[in-house]
């Protein structure tokens, strides 16, 4: 018996070796870079350098948080209404939500320029109505819109999948006990869908806070998010790897802290614990 399960355990060995080399070692290397100078000597200089990027960190977090909240507000009713449909339409809708994810997100983001720009579709339509061009692009709103757009499927899908598994009898019980719609939502639906919300929030927040493309295209390169700063520094060459690693390290820590806090709210212990 023991021998048999030893054999089973052994098949995980290639993966364990793989993850050690390609997950653990790169992170160690990044930490090493963050705490050394270009000659390899130990230093805290890179860490103190981070102070310069505090606005970039702040803006990134604020934008990502705004995008996450908006996504949640948009996605939650969507998921809820989806569960009210016939099973076959539900499945079809789920596909329809997923399909844009198969398209290259750079192209989809770029298409927004055609829609939003001063000479774009919305403004030329408004122009025909005699309303002057609105400034829809090159501002924080456009960057947040880009984030909401690119990542909203990651919010809809987990919430929907939790919601569709809700036990209908619980809702009926709540109604029988005289709950109105709001209490039913607050006391029954919301708590039960929390795992979906939590995974949705993480799946939207993490890519939003670290993006380096959306701000370049929709924000006119004027606001530097933390992802843009990291990309800029890495593109300047090896001299800047140390500082860039330090910033990346801090970004990772911020993300881990956020995930840790999120996990506290989640009562699911199904392998979902990190750190």
């Amino acid at each position: 018996m023991n021998k048999k399960s030893f054999g089973s355990r052994l098949v995980a060995a290639p993966y364990i070796v793989w993850s050690a080399i390609f997950i653990i070692v790169p992170l160690i290397l990044m930490i090493y870079f963050a705490f050394t100078d270009t000659d390899g000597g130990f230093t805290f200089a890179n860490i103190s350098e981070i102070g310069k990027y505090k606005t970039a960190f702040l803006i990134s977090i604020v934008y990502a948080a705004a995008a996450t909240v908006i996504t949640l507000i948009l996605a939650y009713p969507m998921a809820y209404f989806m569960t009210k449909l016939k099973i076959s339409s539900q499945r079809m809708l789920m596909l329809i939500v997923m399909i844009p994810m198969w398209m290259n997100f750079l192209i989809r983001t770029y298409s927004w320029i055609t829609i939003l720009s001063n000479t774009g579709l919305i403004n030329s339509f408004l122009g025909k109505l005699g309303i002057g061009p609105l400034k829809l692009m090159y501002n924080p709103g456009a960057v947040i819109l880009g984030m909401v757009y690119d990542f909203i499927p990651y919010m809809i899908l987990p919430i929907y999948s939790v919601m569709s598994k809700l036990d209908k009898s619980l809702l009926e019980a709540a109604e029988d006990l005289g709950s109105n719609a709001f209490t039913k939502f607050r006391r029954v639906i919301f708590p039960l869908t929390r795992p979906g919300i939590i995974s949705g929030i993480t799946m939207v927040f993490v890519p939003s806070v670290s993006t380096f493309y959306i701000s370049q295209k929709l924000g006119g390169n004027k606001t530097m998010l933390i992802g843009d700063a990291i990309e800029y520094l890495f593109n300047l060459g090896p001299d800047y790897y140390n500082v860039a690693s330090a910033i990346s390290l801090l970004l990772m820590c911020i993300i881990l802290v956020c995930l840790f806090i999120m996990n506290r709210f989640s009562d699911e212990d199904d392998g979902g614990v990190i750190v």
Binding site: S8, A13, W102, V273
Partner: protein
């Protein structure tokens, strides 16, 4: 209420598909602008034929997506089987936590840390260029693995462990037991994992950006295009991919629904 729900759903779908529609419309533009529509033409579709840059990139993307999905499915399924067999709670938890890192971490951090590793190794063994096909493949396998593992694990947990014991008692060796008994019951998990891996790899931009060297995949080419003036040819290629995916998925969904309907009465018997 019903009407409201329908309108809301329609609005969200409109939001999701507006840029896709713009892309499709402008892929038929007769001028080279993706901003002003001047007339209908198929030029950009026929022009794709001679666009070696884009076709090469598409080929690279497909090669990487297929290879990384296959390798990560095999490695990941094996890992899931192994992890289920591990009894020690601590080591199990440690492995699971490490597994989640590439999923949870920002792509840019994963990409950069892998790039640092590849360049470091390249310097040690004295390569003239350390980034290329193998590094992008390794990077893709690395971020695909957790998704495969996490879609196979729950299926394994649901599998009755007695089944395996029974198979072993009936004279199967462990390998046979796996393929004859366990494999069929976790196959849906494996397929889901494979599809997810394939999709993620196809669409990945950030991690490839830092690890691909000049083995440029389609998202990389598109990125460098959006730095200049995107021409409708990029839209044309994306439209072809979109239509292919759309048709395949919708058909797949319809067939599945039909199959289920057909199966229903059998179950009731």
């Amino acid at each position: 209420m019903k009407a409201l729900a329908r309108i809301y759903i329609a609005l969200i779908i409109f939001f999701l598909y507006a840029p896709v529609a713009v892309m499709i419309v402008f892929s038929f533009n007769s001028s080279s602008s993706v901003w002003v529509f001047e007339g209908f033409s198929l030029d950009w579709y026929t022009g794709l034929v001679s666009d070696t840059l884009m076709l090469n990139a598409l080929e690279h993307t497909l090669i990487i997506a297929v290879m990384s999905a296959v390798i990560s499915t095999v490695l990941g399924t094996a890992a899931a089987v192994g992890i289920t067999a591990i009894r020690n709670k601590f080591s199990k938890k440690a492995i699971m936590s490490v597994t989640q890192i590439p999923m949870m971490n920002a792509d840019i951090v994963t990409g950069i840390s892998l790039m640092l590793l590849f360049i470091f190794i390249g310097k040690i063994i004295g390569l003239k260029e350390s980034l290329g096909f193998f590094t992008v493949l390794i990077a893709h396998i690395t971020f695909n693995l957790p998704y495969v593992i996490l879609s196979v694990l729950p299926k394994l947990r649901q599998t009755n462990s007695n089944l395996r014991e029974a198979a072993l008692d009936l004279g199967c060796n462990p390998v046979q037991a796996f393929f004859k008994v366990i494999m069929p019951s976790i196959s849906t998990g494996i397929i889901t994992g494979f599809i997810m891996a394939f999709t993620l790899s196809l669409d990945d931009f950030v991690i490839s950006y830092f690890t691909c060297g000049h083995y440029q995949t389609l998202p990389i080419i598109i990125y460098s295009m959006t730095k200049k003036s995107v021409k409708p040819d990029a839209y044309a290629l994306s439209t072809i991919i979109f239509v292919a995916v759309f048709v395949l998925l919708i058909l797949y969904n319809m067939i599945q629904t039909k199959n289920e309907k057909r199966k229903m009465p059998v179950r009731q018997v």
